[in-house]
Symmetry: C2
Subunit: 558 residues, 2 copies
């Protein structure tokens, strides 16, 4: 048991040159574009060269609905990857990049924890290899070109009230949510109301993460709907002639980033779309490259399984032709207790009954995941205060659900703590037991797709949507978008749209407030409840304590 902080452990990491990490996956130093000595982008030439390789096994790590107790999904992804390597398998992990802005609000890192971390931790939480900056630039170039088009005569007849393309910044800046631009007279354009979202909410981010090549990227960027005319016909980024220059700005950002775990195993860290208004998974290109170079690829999806895994299956896997071989569902005793009604302050005391009651949330996720035809293993991410009886209670419950639970201690022990999980996951993946199928077919009507997700995954009785929403969906179907998958945007804290309803609620409805078409990314966003696309800073932002210490190390970020 270690009492070191994540950042202490990360600083003591015995990192290897990134070329050595790449070599594990068959990459020469020419195949890697280095960013410092411990980060690199994988060249397109290398990616092209491995397309004929056999495809590895794909393992998805997802979790119960998140609670303030913390589940450790990324930590488990890292720990499982290291565990697979420890038992002699050739494994790589694929996770998302961290967003810069939120780091200045609340302390936090997005690279695992304890002895299951990806390094270099500081860089990964700051500029990293510049991908998000490139996305910000590409997004805002399109925005500038739209206003510029209107300024110089508006040949495309854009209705200034119907410009739907906002701007983005990788910063928590509530003042930019709702703004009026082009004040100050004729030379500054036509005043209109718009705003900024945080960069991870950009459709460009979602597109980058779903594109399979630079050609596909440019096609998707061109497909973005940026505005409408007075007759409501759409105007695309292609009409603005921005798709080429945006692709140029994203040329390097499209290449997957390679870093390493504390145990010097390869980790792809690439892309990071929101898990509400977007699909919340790392890039397709990183996942497919990993699958062509490693025998086992462990990846994760944002939020709980009701949002993250559902979108991983129905959006990412469907679109990229991927099929998971095993799902690992992360749960903690503490989170089960909270789902069983215990307050955060009381988590220290043993409470087997509460654990048992909270397991209902876990049980529903198991059943949901199985409905995709994929075998499910529950990883109990061990915390120091967990009692044996509590752990046993989770294990017993999982068994009643026809699944199996394995206790993992990767936070404290690294790969030693996931040997059993890794062994079992490899067995399942190798067994060919998975019979993956998405939840709905492409040709199901859009509203029916929403109902399918709401009823089968959330176990809601009904979907509530007014005529305007239903008509909008119909219009998109008529315009040829009916075959798109659905991207649900709702709270991650509950199966319902009410963040306070933990456990496994029934008898609820899913009210659809708004639908949006992400024509470039290729999905219809269904917004249920308040979704914040530009966070604010708290009263005392962590930025106030972030600084360099006398050794030039970063303090206060974690």
């Amino acid at each position: 048991m270690s009492f070191k902080s994540d950042i202490q452990i990360a600083r003591e990491a015995n990192k290897k040159p990134i070329q050595e990490i790449g070599a594990k996956l068959g990459m020469t130093s020419d195949d890697l574009l280095p960013y410092g000595h411990d980060k690199a982008k994988v060249s397109q030439r290398f990616i092209d060269s491995v397309q004929g390789n056999k495809t590895g096994k794909l393992i998805l790590v997802t979790a119960i609905n998140p609670t303030p107790a913390g589940e450790g999904k990324t930590t488990t992804t890292v720990g499982l990857g290291d565990g697979l390597n420890a038992i002699g398998k050739k494994a790589a992990i694929c996770i998302r990049e961290a967003s810069l802005g939120p780091c200045f609000g609340m302390k936090g890192g997005a690279a695992g924890g304890g002895y299951a971390q990806v390094v270099p931790m500081e860089e990964m939480n700051l500029h990293f290899t510049g991908d998000f900056h490139a996305i910000t630039s590409a997004h805002n170039l399109l925005a500038a070109m739209i206003d510029n088009h209107i300024y110089w005569g508006n040949e495309l007849q854009i209705d200034e009230r119907r410009v739907v393309w906002r701007r983005v910044m990788d910063m928590n800046d509530r003042a930019l949510r709702d703004i009026v631009t082009s004040l100050g007279g004729v030379t500054n354009g036509f005043p209109r109301q718009t705003g900024f979202d945080i960069t991870v909410a950009s459709e460009v981010m979602a597109i980058l993460c779903l594109a399979t090549s630079l050609t596909d990227l440019q096609k998707r960027l061109g497909d973005i709907i940026v505005a409408y005319r007075r007759d409501k016909t759409p105007i695309y980024a292609r009409d603005i002639k921005a798709d080429g220059a945006m692709t140029v700005l994203l040329k390097d950002a499209m290449q997957p980033n390679l870093v390493q775990t504390l145990e010097n195993n390869p980790a792809f860290v690439h892309g990071g779309p929101f898990a509400n208004i977007a699909h919340g998974c790392n890039s397709v290109i990183a996942t497919t490259t990993a699958l062509k170079t490693a025998d086992y690829v462990v990846t994760e999806a944002g939020f709980g399984a009701d949002l993250g895994a559902e979108k991983f299956m129905n959006i990412k896997c469907r679109k990229a032709g991927l099929a998971p071989d095993c799902v690992v569902l992360v749960a903690t005793v503490r989170a089960m207790k909270m789902n069983g009604g215990v307050a955060k302050a009381d988590l220290g005391a043993e409470n087997v009954a509460a654990v048992q009651e909270g397991c209902a949330n876990l049980g529903r996720h198991i059943a949901n995941l199985k409905s995709f035809g994929v075998p499910v293993v529950v990883a109990i991410n061990h915390f120091a205060g967990d009692s044996e009886a509590e752990v046993q209670a989770v294990g017993d419950y999982v068994e009643t659900q026809g699944s199996e639970a394995i206790l993992c201690k990767h936070w404290a022990e690294g790969s030693k703590g996931t040997i059993e999980l890794a062994t079992r996951v490899a067995e399942i993946a190798d067994s060919g037991a998975s019979q993956f199928a998405p939840l709905y077919k492409d040709d199901l009507p859009l509203f029916d797709k929403i109902e399918r997700i709401a009823k089968r995954i959330y176990r809601a009785d009904e979907v509530l949507a007014d005529q305007k929403v239903r008509n909008q969906l119909k219009e998109w179907e008529e315009a040829g978008y009916g075959n798109l998958p659905i991207c649900m945007a709702k709270t991650q804290y509950s199966f319902t749209t009410d963040p306070t309803r933990r456990g496994a609620p029934t008898g609820h409805s899913v009210p659809v407030r708004e639908v949006r078409l992400s024509a470039g990314a290729g999905f219809v966003v269904v917004i249920c409840g308040e979704i914040m696309t530009m966070p604010g800073l708290p009263r005392v932002p962590s930025a106030e304590a972030i600084m360099l210490n006398d050794l030039g190390q970063i303090e206060g970020l974690f």
Copy 2:
């Protein structure tokens, strides 16, 4: 004579691994943080290790007032650096980084031209090593923290009408010049009018380029004045507690970037402040590092000598303790003709009389530069259509001014075209003839400093400033800012504040419209005329033609 385009020549470059370039300056591969195979940042450890070395000779390349004919200042800087290396001297060049935004407006590269270029050209005009993105992030973090402070109770009593810190974006986006933020209700803060500048106009950019260390950087960032109270007392970035986190964001951006010329000689490319509201030179840390590792360092200053060289001398050299050993003043026959009244369309025809008349502009710059005590050599940057008689006319004129002119053909011939210039510049630099002194002492009153520049450099009769401006300067003197140098912001096209007055006008006045205190950068900005800090895109932005070709190469950027 080559008919290849700049980009063709750049693509055919026989680049060496950046480690080999660093080795020429005594850097091991551990001293370099690579960004790909052809760009690197120089480690702070290396910079610390060379502080005891002897200091090389410093050569400034500046130019006549720019004309649409083009002078080729950067091209000459590159050509002279290569020429010095060609005659066996250990030389490095130091130039500015290019701004991303303007590349999408007008075609253009900021890395020289012909056979006198720095590579990799594409990356240098796009994200490069991410320095400008880091500056954008640091600048906007401070902005977000200011509004956040107000939002959570405004303990510092910021007058919302007197927030002077705007936001920045590296994009030509006129719609953002003048905006109202925080609309949409209570949760979005207090509405107020503000705007965005382009990133190169950020005071953070100027600070990064003047800071001598990370400690100095943080101190200067803390010194930024972000707002005033109702009683007009200033509020600093330090009061907002943003200086530490901004420094963390700028940690890597502070390290100089190393790339190479087409002839594989070392080029530091670092920082790029505006040459009007800021001082327009590459970073002090790049220049001083170059001086400790090379025997000759060739650098340049923005715009013509009246703005660029004046600020190089009075701001950068003064603050960094630098003393130039020789100044190279770039002129072209074509620009002399335009200064002599010839229109751009008529530049093809020989016109010795116009050349002779236009030389007055050149003559005044020679005299001005000599007044700093530094020897001046005129480099005539050869264009294909220049007649021998025209070249001779420039040479004869320069001789009458007590200086010497040397014809250079680096654009067409690389270092072969600057052997004579390099030989002469090295002789002058080695001679110790330079007796550099800035134009004014620190303790001269602020208004007197403005007058000194206006009368001695612009040759104006008087400075016009209303009582408000004069009072403001007095207040700053009382607050302890009287020792700061002046940063003049005026048109670069004329010695006067009227961009149409070419040649060497006399009998003019310099009207001061506004003064601004850049307390972090450490200068007082004096604005004479309209200064645009956020450009717009033209009717047909170059972005429309920028795209990847079938080989994955970037087209349309140059």
